[in-house]
């Protein structure tokens, strides 16, 4: 097939099929001072895609706080890096793989994991953990069950094989994701604080190498595809296929090579493959790069420069080496059986220049591609005003309690995480099912805490407060295990940015997140934006996901979410007791849709609570601490009781509405299980930090949970709660085998 000429691209508006709008095409012509050829137009198309350029979100992302004494590397690199003390640092980032996972769930999820893994080790960090934040439609739908099962299998398939434990994350189900599931993968790595490697193509004349897999025709247009509506109408070939074995070898070889000091710059060839990696590395160094495409190892004959530049074949790295150190690298790659090819060199003329059969087939100023990509101030609609809701009081509180325990958002997720190797590397001190995961730093008495969170219902009802809650909850989870929250990464999953209402959600959610980040001293160090999460004109509910990382000094201070031996322990409610059901899951179930405002949030009180939780862990003033989140106090208490295998008895304060007290999702709260002799110490700490604390009850020998409300008693059997909690997801998935065949 003959490629269209520059004139044909212009006259036939062929650039549109490459992802460029009319005005963007004009901008390209202006930047180049001539008409782009097909390769050049394709390169602009992918690099100026929403996925690569952040053109709709950039002006808003600038409002995130990104600095602090703990920040060693903020946004703009392959991952953010924070200091954890004693000469060590943590690199972390989260990224979405929503669109590919909607089309080919196993490979979509697997390559999401592989991609974020490479972003971490290219920083010079040894990956120590994965977390995954997943969103699906309700499980009553056969296609959803297929997507869910295959995404989980894909995450495990990649993560288990590369030998990095998947230690946390969350899964939620809502009709809003029926056509548009979300797969956000986070990776965390550790590195010496002075050992950060950047993705820079520095040093004129330094050689540039492609390492790892050969370049094939898979994944061409992946980045533009991710930025388009209705991925189902797109071709499956835009989805890449992962090879975790090769990914593992590449990781080991690159870490070994980085340790030799021969690497000048290194970057994963992720979205937009060779195009984005070469242009971004040159851009960061303020220089240029020249590639001889004839030398790129390819999987099949007849590949054109266009295909090579746009391929998203997985497990490939672009590496700039210090001239003269090539042999060091070759020896390492040979040992791992990895292919390496010298494909070009670093230049100082600021151009991305591609040669093919001795001819220049593309020559583009790097600045035009990266720094001068379009930035849009898209129209932002009027603010969302939340309405007061009247929520019917349930006739049977025990039944409502059970139905919440049975709700897939709350129910036990071990069906998911027991398919993940959560313990490989043998450093997992707290794994999935806890408020946050805790992974030890080898040879140090120090651990990294990590959690993801994000509740779209809150953001839909009140984007600003909902955004702030996402940060507050993730940080609270980290504090609950005793760690100090340090910084966050995020994935902003939103609908079509060309709609002003969606831009309003994005803008407000960012403001709320920024506010919480400042209040909690957890700056944003990395992240990703996924827009156009819509199907057939219907946008998803706004879903910013936050990944928070913290540090715990002294592994013995780790605080589990449930006590192992609970009899006789007192239950202390930390934070404000509330009976408002705004934004709660209970209210959604009662009214058939999310209602009211987002739940109560006070960021100053939240920060005091987080400090208290760290002090409680440091002084061993509690045996277990559990954060109060979806489903409210009732669910938090039940989860602790199920974990401990022990009943409990509590009393609510006088005058509260029972359903409200049980199921309110007011923020800034946790429950501590405290031995009687530590009670005074705990209450003293709480007073000193001005956090409300009330001894609300205790664990008992009775096989039930009891809550008394000024004379009225709500009682649920522990066995019923546990049955509802443990069997909900497996029983929804029971029909699988047959269904998945039917939908394939």
């Amino acid at each position: 097939m003959r490629e269209p000429t520059p004139e044909e691209i212009r006259d036939g508006a062929i650039y549109r099929s490459l992802g460029l709008s009319d005005s963007e095409y004009e901008r390209v012509v202006e930047k180049l001072g001539r008409l782009p050829n097909y390769v050049e137009a394709g390169i602009f198309g992918v690099l100026w895609s929403e996925h690569c350029s952040y053109k709709s979100s950039k002006v808003h992302l600038r409002r995130f706080p990104t600095t602090g004494p703990q920040v060693l590397q903020g946004p703009g690199e392959n991952a953010g890096v924070v200091d954890i003390g004693d000469g060590w640092a943590v690199a972390f980032k989260m990224e979405s793989h929503n669109h590919p996972s909607a089309v080919e769930p196993y490979q979509g999820a697997a390559t999401g994991v592989g991609g974020i893994l490479r972003d971490i080790f290219t920083m010079g960090a040894r990956p120590i953990a994965f977390l995954d934040s997943l969103r699906f439609g309700p499980l009553d739908d056969a296609r959803t069950r297929y997507l869910f099962a295959q995404v989980v299998a894909g995450i495990g398939g990649y993560g288990n094989c590369v030998g990095i434990p998947t230690v946390g994350g969350e899964v939620q189900f809502s009709p809003t994701y029926r056509q548009n599931p979300l797969v956000n993968a986070m990776c965390v790595g550790i590195l010496p604080a002075h050992g950060i490697v950047r993705g820079e193509a520095k040093g004129v004349g330094n050689p540039v190498f492609v390492v790892g897999a050969r370049t094939g025709r898979d994944g061409i247009h992946g980045a533009t595809f991710a930025s388009a509506e209705d991925p189902e109408e797109k071709e499956r070939s835009a989805v890449q296929v992962g090879d975790p074995f090769l990914g593992k070898l590449l990781m080991e070889a690159c870490l070994e090579l980085i340790a030799t000091g021969a690497v000048v710059g290194i970057q994963d060839m992720g979205a937009a493959g060779l195009t984005s990696s070469s242009a971004e590395m040159a851009s960061r160094a303020g220089g240029g790069i020249e590639l001889v495409l004839d030398r790129v190892p390819v999987r099949e004959t007849g590949m054109t420069p266009y295909e090579m530049m746009l391929s998203e074949s997985q497990e490939r790295m672009l590496v700039v080496l210090e001239r003269g150190k090539e042999e060091v690298a070759f020896a390492i790659f040979r040992r791992y059986g990895l292919e390496v090819a010298d494909v070009g060199r670093v230049t100082d003329d600021g151009m991305l220049r591609l040669l093919w059969h001795g001819e220049v087939v593309a020559e583009i100023p790097v600045r035009a591609l990266v720094d001068e990509a379009p930035v849009y101030e898209r129209p932002v609609g009027p603010p969302v005003s939340s309405k007061r809701a009247s929520i019917p009081e349930p006739s049977h509180l025990a039944e409502a309690w059970l139905s919440l325990m049975r709700h897939p958002n709350i129910a036990d997720k071990s069906w998911v995480y027991r398919q993940y190797d959560t313990m490989v590397r043998a450093q997992t001190a707290l794994g999935p099912g806890m408020d946050a995961a805790l992974v030890k730093v080898p040879d140090l008495d120090k651990a990294v805490a990590m959690a993801t969170d994000g509740n779209a219902r809150y953001v839909r009802l009140n984007p600003r407060k909902g955004g702030a809650i996402a940060v507050a909850e993730a940080a609270r989870n980290v504090a609950a295990v005793g760690a100090r929250p340090l910084a966050i990464t995020n994935c902003l999953n939103f609908g079509n940015p060309e709609k002003p209402a969606v831009m309003r959600q994005l803008s407000d959610a960012i403001d709320g997140m920024a506010e919480a980040c400042r209040a909690l001293d957890t700056p944003v160090v990395s992240g990703n934006v996924s827009l156009y999460n819509e199907s057939r004109g219907q946008d998803i509910d706004p879903t910013p996901i936050v990944g928070c990382v913290g540090v715990l000094d002294g592994i013995f201070r780790r605080m589990p979410s449930a006590p192992r031996e609970a009899r006789g322990l007192k239950l202390v409610i930390l934070g404000r007791e509330d009976d408002d059901l705004d934004g709660s899951l209970f209210a959604e179930l009662a009214c058939g849709e999310p209602v009211g405002d987002a739940p109560y949030l006070d960021l100053a009180a939240e920060r005091r609570l987080h400090e208290l939780l760290q002090r409680i862990a440091a002084e061993r003033a509690a045996v277990a601490v559990h954060d109060v989140s979806e489903g409210g106090l009732a669910v938090a208490i039940a989860e602790m009781a199920i974990g401990a295998g022990c009943g409990a008895s509590l009393a609510a304060p006088d005058g509260v509405r029972p359903a409200g007290w049980l199921f309110s999702e007011a923020q800034g709260r946790a429950i501590a299980a405290v031995s009687p002799d530590a009670l005074d110490a705990l209450l003293h700490l709480a007073r000193a930090l001005d956090v409300p604390a009330r001894v609300a009850g205790e664990f008992t020998d009775a096989p039930c949970l009891e809550v008394s409300f000024a004379g009225d008693l709500v009682r649920v059997s522990l066995a019923d709660l546990e049955e509802a909690y443990r069997t909900a997801i497996p029983s929804l998935l029971r029909q699988d085998a047959v269904d998945s065949r039917a939908t394939l």
Binding site: G156, C161, G163, P244, K248, R418, D421, M423, R425, A426
Partner: protein
């Protein structure tokens, strides 16, 4: 004493085994690359867990052709203790050093959790510090851990007390709940569970400690006798 932990391309529990052995025994541990042809310098050999060669084709099916596997067989013949954990167990069966095979879990999913195991014999270099019948907690993490063998092989294993561990609750459909077996000479153990993940309190179990201590005690005793 000196331990070898063999590293195949795709092994991913090699460092875990190394760190557990160092912690438990204080001995010297070398990570030995799969192209090594001589392991005679080592007193005990560990084939660690992971996905050697991506488990492509079949778990362990490619790794068995690595040069180091011949060296492992040679040292096993000399009576040295060889322990294959998870993928290491799969490689040992593929290489014919242990009978039977590891098939895909009957539920077709990967399964990771702390499993309860019954120690069936303490007559081996690997289990001498356990009590027979004792129940221990050791993590499992595998997709192909369903032990299978022909009836006559199973009879022989049972008759000779070569079933080292059984699952208390079978997580993968293994025949006769088998989690680990010994060779006829009792110096080669293959097991799906990961003792190296159960050696410190914060791991959730310390029941793996005695497996490494047992091996050490066995080797030390041999050296004293010699």
């Amino acid at each position: 004493m000196r331990w070898a932990v063999v590293v195949f391309p795709g092994s991913n529990c090699d460092r875990d085994a190394e760190q557990a052995i160092r912690l438990v025994t204080g001995d010297a541990v070398d990570l030995v690359w799969h192209d090594a042809e001589d392991l005679s310098a080592y007193d005990a050999i560990v084939l660690p867990g992971g996905f050697s060669y991506g488990d492509y084709l079949r778990a362990g099916a490619i790794a068995r052709f690595s040069p180091v596997v011949r060296a492992v067989a040679r040292e096993a013949e000399r009576g040295k203790p060889v322990i294959g954990i998870c993928n290491g167990f799969q490689i040992l069966t593929e290489a014919g050093l242990l009978p039977g095979a590891l098939l895909a879990n009957h539920h077709l999913q990967f399964r990771c959790e702390i499993a309860k195991l019954r120690v069936e014999t303490n007559d081996s270099p690997f289990t001498r510090l356990y009590q027979p019948g004792e129940v221990i907690r050791i993590p499992i993490a595998h997709g192909e851990g369903r032990y299978h063998a022909e009836p006559e092989v199973l009879d022989e294993l049972r008759r000779d007390g070569r079933v080292a561990f059984r699952y208390v609750e079978n997580p993968n459909g293994s025949v006769d709940d088998i989690a680990g077996i010994l060779n006829a000479r009792r110096n080669v153990l293959g097991l799906m569970p990961h003792p190296e993940r159960a050696v410190i309190d914060w791991m959730g179990s310390e029941d793996g400690i005695r497996m490494f201590q047992s091996i050490r005690a066995h080797v030390e005793e041999g050296q004293t006798h010699a």
